[in-house]
Amino acid sequence: MASTACFIIVSRNDIPIYEAEVGSAVKKEEAAHQHQFILHAALDIVQDLAWTTSAMFLKAVDRFNDLVVSVYVTAGHTRLMLLHDSRNEDGIKSFFQEVHELYIKILLNPLYLPGSRITSSHFDTKVRALARKYL
């Protein structure tokens, strides 16, 4: 399992609607912040990349120091972003795919306003489980 992994979902409006530190390493707030800064910065690159390919899984698009940003862009341009130090691309891919399914379930909830924060605890636990499974 990846020692560091920070997973966020960014809505079409560039709002993070879900954030989770799913790394095995002990969490330090500083680090966590830094992770988010990196992911935020990576959006610029994702933005350009997204239209150049039709694949949802964009693999590693950005890095800073030894941390890599892998991104998965849904058709609705919701971005699943993972900051990680592992190189297990397949694991990451399947992680993304399964999270995507979860996300769609959330999105189909009529009372969930697309683009707003995902508060469902059920979703959170599921995601963390997937992280343990694949990362």
Binding site: S11, I15, H33, G115
Partner: protein, 1202 residues
Amino acid sequence: MEPDVSIESGCMIRVAVLPIGPIPQSKLRDYVSILVRHNKVELSAISSFYTEDQKSPFANQPWDTGSLRFKFNVGWSPLSPWEDFQSNRKILAVIGICDCPSSPDLDVVGEQFAVACKGYTSSLVQRCFAFCPGEDQLEDGGKKGNNLVLFPPADQQTQEFHLLTMMQDIAASLLMEFEKWVLRAESAGTILKTPLDSQTSLSSEEVIKAKKRRLGRAQKTIGDYCLLAGSPVDANAHYSTAIELARLTGDFFWYAGALEGSVCALLIDRMGEKDPVLEDEVKYRYNSVILHYRKAFMQDNAQRVSTLGFELEATLKLARFLCRAEHAKEVVELLMTAADGAKSLIDASDRLILYVEIARLFGTLGYQRKAAFFSRQVAQLYLQQDDCWAAISAMQVLAMTTKAYRVQSRATSSKSLSSSNENGLSHADIGKMQPQSVVSLFESQWSTLQMVVLREILLSSVRAGDPLAAWSAAARLLRSYYPLITPAGQSGLASALINSAERLPSGTRCADPALPFVRLHSFPLHPLQMDIVKRNPGREEWWLGSAPSGPFIYTPFSKGETIDSSKQEFVWIVGEPVQVLVELANPCGFDLMVESIYLSVHSGNFDAFPIHVSLPPNSAKVIPLSGMPTSVGPVTIPGCIVHCFGVITEHLFRDVDNLLLGAAQGLVLSDPFRSCGSPTLRNISVPNISVVPPLPLLVSHVVGGDGAAILYEGEIRDVCISLANAGSVPIEQAHISISGKNQDSVISIADETLQSSLPLKPGAEVTLPVTIRAWQLGLVDPDNAGGKSASGNVGRLSRDGSSPMMVIHYAGPSCESGDTTTSSSTVPPGRRLVVPLHVCVLHGLSFVKARLLSMEIPAHVSETLPKFVHKENSSTEEFAGSKTDCLVKIDPYRGSWGLRLLELELSNPTDVTFDISVSVQLESPKNDDNPTLIDRDAADFGYPKTRIDRDYSARVLIPLEHFKLPVLDGSYFMKDSQADDASNSKSSISEKNLKAELNASIKNLISRIKVKWQSGRNSAGELNIKDATQAALQSSVMDILLPDPLTFGFKLSKNDMGPKTQIDSPNESNSQVNYIACKGSISAHDMTPMEVLVRNNTKEKIQMNLSITCRDVAGENCIEGNKATVLWAGVLSGINLEVPPLGDIKHCFSLYFLVPGEYTLVAAALIDDADDILRARARTDSPDEPIFCRGPPFHVRVIGTA
């Protein structure tokens, strides 16, 4: 590493620019700015200064197209250890800048300059530019050495020109120096040292290697000089040899250097061209440059020095070269590798430079977030070295990132802010805004990052000693992210705010509001006393037909679209204070002191009154903010000005509205108001408020205390209300109306007194009495039962809506009342005063029941028919009694007193006594075809008072005879028929309105009976018995209202039997009123002539068969019925008569009595072929049933002896 390097920087001649002597910063800036313009000098321009004393090594120098480029380093610039490797790193010239006014002694200047130049061993040319010299300086400046150049004061242009020539001179001499250097190098060779090979002890083979390499390096350096000399072609030639040699000698570092040079040369040569081939070439070469620098790094042990700097610089150079959207991918890749390099950089400042460069490049690429990221890295590096300057630069760098992280201060981002507000406002009903668009309002709520950035800004600005920036940062942090901050952290921020405020001059304003949150709560209604009413000049009742322009009523329940209606027209008045309710919330864990808060009005015609508020932790408060309009015009209230934490800020309602909206959608962290436990309001928008010129203002008070008047039911009381004009304008028109419950209990208002007192000048006062009759209390109304709890009731009653209200519409002068054509806007509005007439009604005398009594009392036969007499105080008791000839009323034709009495039973539950007085008002009959009735003119019958003690009850009798109608008429019969049986219906319509008529006549009957009461000295009233009476009378109304078709009267006829004509002519009867010689007795044993008088009360002629019966009487009830004990009876019958309509006839007959005693005469008639009217009156419907009409009994007293 060096900042701002590009591929071209290889050809730039580095010039140190040094301030000599004291120079004011501003001046230095000016001088430098004009100097640095000349960073490029055309070769063609310098030929005049150039002298070729020997063959120039720059064989193919492009004299016509080429140019020399300069790079000015202002201030002391350190010598680079790599000068030999890249000649453009050498300081090749020094230019001093001196401001003559501030350093008068030019000699000193000269010396200082000389000293300064010492440092720059590599400099080939030195000049000192002395600006604006004085006269004396000018003249002795001449004889100084030629490296002091004086710029005599002159206009801009000449100065420019002068400076240009000087630069050309410098350029020329530099060029010549370069030539010298190159020639020398070519002939003698040169020693080139770089930190890489500065080992003191060279092992033998190294020495050999070094020898081998020297040539190539020399070539490379010559190439550099060619570049500097602006001759790319020559440079290229040298470089290519250098490259070749370097490759052979495996001198990677210099290989890379030469390659770099060659690319530079290439670009200079192909200046301005942008063909892809070139680009690819550059890319290709530079990649190998980078590669070789890395190689050099590999093979060399990097402890002491590393070539990493060069590798990174090269990378950045390439990136900068490619930095365009179409190359984004590559550039990003380059920059990422560059960034990777950072951690292996030894020197912190190098890392700083690297990050700055990367940030810049991302910025130019349009990757704002990336740029922001690296800028922040830079900022952090700055913050690591904690000195003020570093902090300042950190602050500046962070300031640049705020846009990307969306934490801009309002001050900077006012534009974007306003746009977002447009977004907010464009939806009239923001509550109904489509969620999708709402989201866009709260884009990138990336709180984690934003908080970190704000914290860093706060930190840096505190260190940098910029209190305002610190304050604003803390404010933004606290306001936007309080839910994510621990109470401790919150109060920390609070103190940060206060501390930075202490360093600020008082009254400082900041664009970013801190706490509290302020939202518009409501516009309180005008107190009813101050309502403003639009005046529509068109009509007499100007207040009608136009909805009141105020108050602005806020309804929390308004559904769906009605929110638009909250955008109302709303009128304020110059000089009359107004209030607006706002709600403040302090969602934080500390006590919040708002030094002052007041409405911010941009339209400038409003004085807002500041107030002081303190909010405990996690609390919300609704407070009234008041102010006074000062001049006519529209008023806009975007928000409040708040003075809190020592700084003045403006809090816009709109922002909070948007915030709440976001919270409702779950897009914002939390709703500060809800978290303070205050309910959610629908956000109300500020109405269009317009201020109008002063209006009159009427204020009222009830004379003798405003408390409710305590009255018994039905009590009548005058209340005096005094009205005063508290306004500054006279009241010219006023109109009073009554509204509310129990309106009819107001009997009269002295409107005329008000009207007469108009116009009511400011300050003037008028009192008008209002007469009130206390209404009946609902029987089920326990809590005002009895007067016991009267005082308690006052409050209650005046609260509940049962009291009527007096509404006064009034207005000042209408500017031009003459023409109603002027639109109502020009007419100043009027106002409305509502005066509740507080009445507390107590249960008074209560009415138990009413019933109808009837009796008949025989009359006595006499010469005359019994007359209608009435005595004043004839009491009810007397009815039964002896004085038969002075009766209340008697029908002359009927001759006896069929009495119908209404009995009212009253009870007195109160603890005071009541005096009851009944009065019956008579009307003069209308129909003239019955003159005899005229003497019954309108008069009130008074009956003696009845006193009812507390908790007692009493009966009151009211005779109804007065109401008998004179004529039995078809129309009435119709009514009867209705009254009798409304069941059968042929024409329902006429049926209805006949019923109506009947009821009407009953009503008017009833209305003429009044039961007044009096209690104590000053409370008197009237008992409301209408309904009860009506109920009582309804059944037998016919008998009360209608006369019999025939009435009979007996009298003793005079001895002269001449028929007495028209006995009943008015004058006659009047005359007869005087002499009543009622010897109402006849003696036995003699023939007594009598006459019976039959009167026809119908409008039809009546055929009849009259019969007269005479019986003796024993006891009262003898007239009929089985109890009658008849001793003797005589009947006279079979008299056929015909009576003309409304006429009467006499029939004479005689009686002869044998036995004295009391006898009774009764006349009866069988009416032949009676018409419907009679039948109906007789309540029969079978057509053949005989109609029998019996007169009342008459008494005859027979005296004498048997």
